[in-house]
Amino acid sequence: MSFFVETFIGGLLAGVMYSLVAIGFVLIYKASGVFNFAQGSMVLCAGLTFVTMRDRGIDFWLAGLITLTIMVAIAIAVERVVLRPLVNRPQITLFMATLGLSFVIEGIAQIAMGASVHELDLGIVDTPITVGEVQVSQFDLVAAATAGVLVIALSIFFNWTRVGIALRAIADDPLAARSIGIRLQTLWQIVWGVAGFVSLVAGLLWGARQGVQFALTLVVLKALPVLIIGGFTSITGAIVGGLIVGASDSLAEIYLGSLLGGSVSTWFSYVLAVGFLLVRPTGLFGDAPIERI
C-alpha cells in the first residue's frame, strides 16, 4: 500500500511541474484565444538567459530581474511584430504565427547563448523526506508550493485588478472591450509579459530538475493533455489537470506498464484527454462558449 501511496504522491507532484508550463498557455489563451505554440521556447529562453547570467557571476536576484526584463521585452516585440499585424485574422493564422515564433526564439536563444547544457542550482535541498514508509521529494514539494503561490497571485491579478478585469473582458468579447476603450495592444503586451514571468518560474524549476538545455522545450508535450483535461481558460484547471495527468501517468506506468509493453506514460494522458474531449469538451474548468445564433 505504501508503494501505491508513494507512486501516487510522486505523480501528483510531477503533475504540478506540468501545470507550471500549462499556466503559461492558459494566460495567453484567456487573453487572445491563441494556443501559444512558442510557450516551450519561452521556457527555454528564460532558463537559458538566467543561467547564462549566473555563469557570468551575476547575483541570483539580479539575474532573475534581467531575465524578466528580457522576457517582457520579448513580449512587447511579439505583440508589435507578430500579433498586431495579425489582428482580426483567423485563429489558425495566429496559431501558425506562434509556431514560427517558437523556432525563432529557440534559434536566437541558441545563437546568443550557445547549445551547451548548464547546471542550475536553486539551493533547494533535494533529499527525500520519509513519512512512515513513504518518501516524498523536497524539491517537488517546493515546486508545488511555488505553483500554489503562482495560482493565488494570478487569481488575484485576474479577479481583483483593473488590468485583470480588462483582460477577462477582452477574452469574453474583444470588440465590445475595445468599444469601451480597453487598449488591446497594451493588454496583450501585459499578458505576454506575465506569461514570460511564468516561463521564467517554469524554466528555473524544470532547469534545476534536468539542467538547462534544449530539451526544456519538450516539457510542453505534457502540457497539452493538462490543458484539455483542466480547460484552456482556467488557471485552477491547469493545476487540477496537471495533478490528474501526473498521478494517472505514474500509476499507469507502474501498474499497466508491464502488461502493455512499457512506456505507458507516453500516451496514457493523451488517451485520458481524448476521453475528456468526448465527455466534457471544455475540460473540467473551461468556459463553454455561448453564442447567439
Partner: protein, 449 residues
C-alpha cells in the same frame, strides 16, 4: 527514310556519343586528378542534441586538421570535409547522405559517418548499394558486426552488446568475480527506443549464464520525468542499475535516483549516458556516478599534447569551449577520426597513394589493425583500444573503461579496459545476422576472401 535524313540522324548520334564520352572522360580525369580525400560529416549543431554533438565534431575536425597541418595529409593526400546538418533526424540524415554520396570535386566518399543510431539503421541497405561504408563507433546495428551479411556497416570498437557485457563484467570485478554475480539484481533503466532495447537480448543471455536477475525498466522519450521508474527501483531494490539514457534522460535519472535514495555509485551509465554533458546538470548528486565508455576522458594522452601544440594553441581548433578539450565527446571525435584515417592509410597501402573510394575503404576497414604499437605511434595509447577488424568482425575491440565522476571531472576507476564476453555473445550475433540475411534474401559473403 531518305539518305540525307539518315546522315543527319547518324551525325547527331555520333555527336551525342562524343558528348557522353567527353563527359565520362572528363569525370574520370577529374577523379584521377583529385588530390584530396573527402569526408562528409553529418552533424547536428542545432536542436535537442546539439550540446552532445558539438564537441564530437571538434575532436574529429581537430584531428583531421592535425593530419593536414603536421603530417601533410594521409601520405600527402590532404583531407577535406564539409558538414551537413541532420538535426539528429532520420529524414535529414538520409537527405544529407544522398547529397554527398557522389563525392566532391572528383574526390570520392570513402566513409560516411552518420552520427545517429536511427540514421545509420535507415542507411544500412543504401550503403551496400552505393558501396560506401558506414562507420558507427559505439552505436548502430549490433549484428552488423557480421560483415558477411553487412559488408558496408561497421559498428566499430564497442557495440551495445559489448557495452552491456562489459558493464556486467565490471560489476563482477567489484563483487569479487563472475561467480559472485549469482543472485544479484541488475536493473537496466533504458530509453524506450530501438537503441534502448538493443541490450535486452545480451543481458537476458548473460543473466541466464551467470545467474543474476535481469530487470528491465523503460523510460519514455525524452525522459524528463522518471518518478514512477525510480519508485519501482526503490521497490525492487536492485544491487546495481545500468542506465542506458540519451540526452536529458541521464541527468534526470541521476537526480531522481538521489531522490529515492538509490546510491549513485551503484549506477553505471552506458556509452551515451557517460559524458560531462550528462552528469554536470545533475549537480552535486552526480558525484560518484559511474559510466562505461570506449572514449575515456582526459587531455593527457600524447595525441592531445600534439593537438594542443599544433591546433589549439595556433587557434585552428573547432572547439568553441576550451573546457571541452579532452572531454568524453571530444575524445570520441578524435577516436572516430583516428579510425577513419587509419582505414584510409590501410587502403592506400593496398590500392596506392591516392584518394580512396568507398569500396576500397571497405577493404581498408576490414584489414584495419590498430595494434598497441600503431596506437603508440599515433599517441593514442590508453585513449583508443587495440583494434583488429575482419570480414567476420566489424567491431574489433569490444572493451570499455569505467569512469567515475568526482564532481568536477571523470576518473578511470576500472582496471584498464574491461573486456566484454565476446566469445559468449558472438554466436548469438551471427545467428541474428543470419536471420536478417534470410529475411532479406541476402547471400552472405565468403569471409575467407
Amino acid at each position: 527514310m531518305s539518305i540525307r535524313k539518315q546522315k543527319r540522324i547518324t551525325s547527331r548520334a555520333i555527336g551525342l556519343a562524343a558528348l557522353v564520352l567527353s563527359l565520362a572522360v572528363g569525370a574520370t580525369a577529374s577523379a584521377e586528378d583529385a588530390k584530396t580525400q573527402y569526408f562528409p560529416l553529418a552533424t547536428f549543431r542545432v536542436g535537442a542534441y546539439a550540446s552532445s554533438g558539438i564537441p564530437v565534431w571538434a575532436g574529429e575536425i581537430d584531428y583531421f586538421r592535425y593530419i593536414n597541418e603536421v603530417e601533410g595529409g594521409i601520405n600527402g593526400i590532404k583531407l577535406v570535409w564539409d558538414e551537413c546538418e541532420t538535426n539528429w533526424e532520420v529524414e535529414k540524415g538520409i537527405e544529407c547522405y544522398e547529397r554527398v554520396k557522389a563525392g566532391k570535386n572528383g574526390s570520392p566518399v570513402p566513409i560516411f559517418l552518420p552520427h545517429g543510431d536511427p540514421i545509420s539503421k535507415a542507411l544500412t541497405e543504401k550503403s551496400v548499394a552505393d558501396k560506401i561504408p558506414l562507420v558507427t563507433i559505439a552505436y548502430g546495428r549490433t549484428e552488423a558486426i557480421d560483415g558477411r551479411v553487412f559488408p558496408y556497416s561497421f559498428p566499430v570498437v564497442f557495440s551495445f552488446w559489448s557495452e552491456a557485457s562489459s558493464a556486467v563484467n565490471f560489476i563482477a570485478e567489484k563483487v569479487g568475480g563472475k561467480d559472485k554475480l549469482k543472485g544479484l539484481k541488475i536493473a537496466t533503466v533504458y530509453h524506450d527506443s530501438p537503441y534502448g532495447k538493443e541490450t535486452q537480448v545480451p543481458l537476458a543471455h548473460l543473466a541466464k549464464t551467470y545467474g543474476f536477475e535481469d530487470i528491465q525498466i523503460p523510460v519514455p522519450h525524452p525522459g524528463n520525468e522518471q518518478s514512477a521508474q525510480w519508485a519501482k527501483i526503490r521497490q525492487l531494490k536492485p544491487d546495481w542499475v545500468f542506465l542506458r539514457g540519451w540526452g536529458v534522460m541521464t541527468p534526470v535519472a541521476i537526480k531522481t535516483a538521489a531522490k529515492v535514495g538509490f546510491p549513485v555509485d551503484h549506477i553505471i551509465g552506458g556509452i551515451w549516458s557517460g559524458s560531462e554533458e550528462d552528469v554536470r546538470p545533475a549537480g552535486a548528486v552526480g558525484k560518484g556516478y559511474l559510466a562505461i565508455t570506449p572514449f575515456p576522458a582526459g587531455a593527457n594522452f600524447e595525441i592531445h599534447q600534439k593537438l594542443k601544440k599544433h591546433i589549439l594553441d595556433k587557434g585552428l581548433s573547432d572547439l568553441k569551449d576550451p573546457k571541452s578539450f579532452g572531454s568524453v565527446y571530444y575524445n570520441s571525435g578524435v577516436d572516430e577520426a583516428i579510425v577513419a584515417v587509419e582505414a584510409i592509410r590501410t587502403a592506400q597501402a593496398h590500392f596506392g597513394v591516392r584518394p580512396i573510394n568507398g569500396e576500397e575503404a571497405q577493404w581498408g576497414l576490414e584489414h584495419l589493425d590498430l595494434s598497441e604499437k600503431r596506437l603508440a605511434e599515433i599517441g593514442a595509447t590508453g585513449l583508443q583500444q587495440p583494434l583488429k577488424l575482419s570480414a567476420k568482425d566489424h567491431e574489433g575491440g569490444g572493451a570499455g573503461k569505467v569512469l567515475q565522476w568526482d564532481g568536477e571531472k571523470w576518473n578511470v576507476v576500472s582496471n584498464g579496459w574491461v573486456k566484454s564476453d565476446r566469445e559468449l555473445l558472438l554466436p548469438l550475433i551471427y545467428e541474428r545476422a543470419a536471420a536478417y540475411a534470410r529475411e532479406r534474401g541476402i547471400t552472405p559473403r565468403d569471409a575467407t576472401n
